[in-house]
């Protein structure tokens, strides 16, 4: 006995039309870019329908591309590992111990997700660049003969790892909260010590969560653009994403190479997901339910100081130190001038360039967030409230880009619109299309989750008492899911305001966004102005994050 209202047939025609147009929209926004990457990698666009392996051969025989692939895999693996260790440790400290201030620390430790990767890299460059980095200068001033060097593979893995740790932390913390404590109590009743319980019961139950955190971190790391370009450029440590950007800078841009490299990124994230699947095959832990439990908390006693310190250390490394160094740099007329003045910050921000790019960013982000939230709402509703055939496929397609790195998706969008006879490429609308195609998935996930929470009888009863389908949606369904729609709007808006990896390929003079301005300033090496712009981006990201947390009490992802 299904509880979903059988509304399919009386209005079959409009519904079918609606589904078809949603399908067409998703086809253009999501499917076309992915298909274009595949075709462009092996077909010559000019000689129609002939196989053209030139780009493929160039990539497969080019030493620089093998090196980029190896560097990408190495850096992504190391950063995922670091993120796992840090994230799992933090999750355990915040959920399972009596560490002082753990609730607040846990909230703060989620914030790095809202610091743009580019900004994190800039801040860490200011801290740890060879010779000129703040920490290296302090070490030198203290006479300690150690020089830390961030412009290496290890440096990249370090910065990526600490900024990816919150993703792992959130997944593992949720898993820790959903493990029934009686499973562990049963183990202890059976005579296992605390350590044995942790190793034989808790760890295996957590393994799937840690693994999915690792896979998520790896997938994000593979697709990051801002961090590797900032940290790798001076020594030409170039990852796949950097190579894609370089290929896009050629005149004419080398679309074939870009497509093949994008394919690499997609294959890497597919491999990671496949590895996760094969590991989890046959390990369905039904005991880990969606239900929340009060977790078993460990009284730490004197060890509490240590876990508190560990939590604080993470916050210092990921947020406080970067912010301090950015503020210091922004207040100086040039890097480490030794004079600090608010006038410098004001001068950096008070320019037409800042204003016009900021206006563009706000306009594009507002439009894209609104359209993506609306599309996400429509798809979620169709999937959970109708019985239309094909709705699952629709949902599958719209969720697909989550595992496609942004820069690869950007290449796909570029390839779709580059040869059409009307102007999309070179206008702001191509950025809109890319944002919506890549990020509607997040709105769908958030809105679907809240639609599932709404008992269908709430809608059915409104229908029984005389509301038609439209009024039922407007007066019952929509008000009930409004918080999740708004929350996903804010989340998307904050993504879009600082997005760099797609915009860098798609922007034009008329659609220069703020992240592009910051990138250009980095390119010319004006670190003081760069710090000011980075601070502004961080401020926007953190403000929105705090709004999400305080107003909507929503998790970041």
């Amino acid at each position: 006995m299904s509880h979903v209202a059988d509304t399919a047939w009386p209005r079959a025609l409009p519904q079918a039309l609606g589904l078809t147009s949603l399908g067409a929209l998703i086809g253009i926004l999501v499917l076309a870019p992915l298909v274009m990457i595949l075709t462009r990698a092996v077909f010559d666009p000019n000689a129609a329908r002939t196989l053209d392996a030139r780009s493929l051969v160039a990539v497969l025989t080019g030493w620089i591309y093998w090196s980029a692939l190896a560097s990408t895999v190495a850096v992504a693996l190391c950063s995922a590992l670091l993120a796992c260790v840090v994230g799992t440790a933090l999750a355990w400290i915040f959920v399972r111990t009596t560490t002082f201030g753990r609730t607040v620390l846990e909230q703060i430790a989620q914030l790095p997700i809202f610091i743009p990767p580019f900004v994190g890299a800039v801040a860490w460059a200011l801290l740890l660049a060879p010779r000129v980095g703040a920490i290296n200068r302090i070490l030198a001033a203290l006479g300690i003969p150690i020089e830390l060097d961030l412009y290496t593979h290890a440096g990249m893995a370090w910065v990526m790892g600490i900024y990816l740790a919150p993703y792992v932390m959130m997944i593992v913390a949720a898993a820790l909260r959903s493990i029934d404590p009686s499973l562990e109590e049963a183990a202890q009743v059976c005579g296992l010590t605390k350590l044995q319980t942790a190793l034989r019961v808790t760890a295996p139950l957590l393994a799937p969560a840690i693994l999915s955190g690792a896979v998520l971190a790896f997938t994000i790391a593979v697709g990051l653009f801002g961090t590797p370009i900032v940290l790798g450029w001076s020594r030409q440590i170039l990852l796949l994403t950097s190579r894609i950007w370089i290929a896009s800078q050629a005149t004419p841009p080398d679309y074939g190479i870009m497509a093949v490299l994008s394919l690499y990124l997609i294959v890497l994230s597919i491999l990671a997901t496949a590895a996760q699947r094969s590991f989890l095959a046959g390990r369905s832990y039904v005991t880990v339910t969606g239900k929340g439990f009060r977790p078993r908390v460990i009284e730490l006693g004197p060890w509490g100081a240590l876990t508190f310190a560990a939590g604080c250390l993470y916050v210092i490394l990921a947020i406080a130190a970067p912010l301090v160094v950015l503020v210091a740099a922004a207040l100086s007329p040039y890097t480490w001038a030794g004079q600090y003045s608010i006038a410098n910050l004001r001068a950096s921000l008070d320019s037409d360039d800042v204003w016009s790019t900021m206006t563009t960013s706000v306009l594009i982000s507002t439009a894209a967030a609104t359209l993506a939230a609306a599309l996400g709402l429509a798809i979620s509703w169709v999937v959970s409230r109708t019985r239309l055939p094909g709705r699952q496929l629709l949902e599958y397609l719209v969720l697909l880009p989550i595992s496609v790195p942004g820069i690869a998706f950007g290449v796909g969008v570029m390839l779709v619109w580059i040869d059409v006879p009307f102007a999309v490429y070179g206008t702001a609308s191509i950025i809109l299309l890319a944002f919506i195609g890549r990020f509607t998935a997040y709105a769908v996930r958030s809105v679907s989750a809240s639609l599932v929470q709404i008992h269908p009888e709430l809608e059915e009863s409104a229908r029984v008492f005389g509301y038609g389908p439209v009024r039922t949606f407007a007066r019952i369904t929509f008000p009930l899911i409004l918080p999740s729609v708004l929350a996903s709007w804010i989340l998307l808006f904050s993504f879009f305001m600082t997005e760099l990896s797609m915009v860098i390929l798609l922007y034009s003079e008329s659609s220069r966004m703020f992240s592009i301005l910051a990138f250009e300033v980095w390119n010319v090496g004006d670190f003081s102005r760069l710090a000011a712009l980075s601070l502004l981006q961080t401020a926007i990201g953190l403000t929105l994050a705090v709004t999400l947390k305080v107003v909507f009490r929503q998790k970041a992802l």
């Binding site: 059915e460 009863s461 005389g466």
Partner: protein, 350 residues
């Protein structure tokens, strides 16, 4: 306001849930659809409401056809003018009690003054006066139930459909609400179609019980009739408890039928259908001393003390028999008893 269904059939994919049901639910009375889960009772209710589309058949409410398969007609739920109490109560959490109860009137475009007056009257009727401004999420289960009832009453729809409305309440409140629903129905003379799986609730509240099994109405009638004269073994066992006896001898001699159960002989008035077995309710047996003649000899294998009654199970030559007694006589496992009963308490079931 009668509700008629004709050859009503519904299947979910290949699974048939309702198999060509034809019934008329009488005006101004409480008809209870009773059955185990999966018997099709909720589906029937939802088809009548318009929340499911039947596969075949016809539905008419007060003579107005709201669904027919041929010619195709489907009146959408909001134009069927029915009211409904849902299992979850379906109280809108983002609205106050007043807003919840007034929604049917707002949907119908009633003016504000009338709404105010009618809602307050109705809230008083269900015992919620003074609660109008309360947020719906602050209500207890019983109060939510009353809001759900108020919403039905205020809609002035003469037909109220109730889908297991009491199953989420705790035991005492459930019994109180049964009486309240029945009282309100008697006063306001609604036509109520009530779905439940609880046979005791069905017997208490129903004017007519429709016992559903595998998508068909197995038997219908007033509660007493269904309990006293079940036609099938399923009906006998679903409604109350029954001793089904298949080890008996039927003796026809000189125009008089008798049935022999072990050493007990009872006269049988009617001639049973082919393959029919005997059904005796546990409280119809009388326990006597074991060494009498013309009693069914048995030995007690289990006793249960239930406060207001004693139940015991006895091994007899015709199988295990469950007996319910109100007497205070103490029964012990191992005791031998004689069992006897009146001829009129024997039923043939198939």
């Amino acid at each position: 306001m009668t509700i008629q269904v004709e050859n009503l059939a519904k299947s979910f994919g290949p699974v048939p849930v309702l198999a060509a049901v034809t019934e008329t639910f009488e005006d101004g009375s409480i008809s209870v659809l009773l059955g185990a889960s999966g018997c099709g009772k909720t589906t029937m209710l939802r088809c009548i409401a318009g929340l499911e589309r039947p596969t075949r058949g016809r539905i008419a409410i007060n003579g107005r056809t709201v669904f027919s398969h041929r010619p195709p007609l489907f009146v959408p739920v909001e134009r069927r003018n029915v009211a409904m109490v849902f299992q979850s109560y379906a109280i809108w959490p983002h609205m106050t009690v007043f807003q919840n109860v007034s929604l049917p009137l707002r949907a119908a475009g009633v003016d504000r003054c009338t709404i105010e007056q009618k809602v307050n009257e109705t809230l008083a009727l269900v015992g919620l006066s003074g609660m109008a401004r309360r947020s719906a999420t602050q209500l207890s289960g019983g109060q939510q139930q009353r809001v759900a009832l108020a919403r039905c009453i205020v809609s002035s729809s003469p037909v109220i459909l109730m889908d297991e409305p009491l199953s989420n309440l705790d035991a005492n409140l459930r019994i109180a609400m049964r009486a309240e629903i029945r009282g309100l129905q008697r006063r306001l003379a609604h036509t109520v179609l009530f779905v439940t799986h609880d046979q005791e609730e069905a017997m208490f509240i129903a004017d007519t019980i429709y016992l559903l099994h595998e998508g068909k109405v197995l038997q219908k009638g007033p509660p007493k009739e269904i309990y006293e004269s079940p036609k099938t073994r399923y009906a006998a066992e679903f409604l109350g408890r029954a001793n089904i006896i298949s080890k008996f001898e039927r003796i026809t001699a000189a125009g008089a039928n008798t049935i022999r159960l072990g050493t007990l002989t009872v006269s049988a008035s009617s001639t049973p259908e082919e393959g029919a077995v005997l059904c005796v309710r546990p409280e119809k047996w009388r326990a006597t001393a074991p060494d009498l003649t013309d009693v069914l000899q048995g030995q007690i294998v289990e006793t249960r003390y239930a406060g207001d009654r004693i139940e015991f199970t006895a091994d007899t030559p015709v199988g295990r028999i469950v007996v319910i007694e109100i007497s205070r006589e103490e029964r012990r496992v191992g005791d031998r008893v004689g069992l006897t009963l009146d001829a009129c308490d024997i039923r043939w079931v198939v």
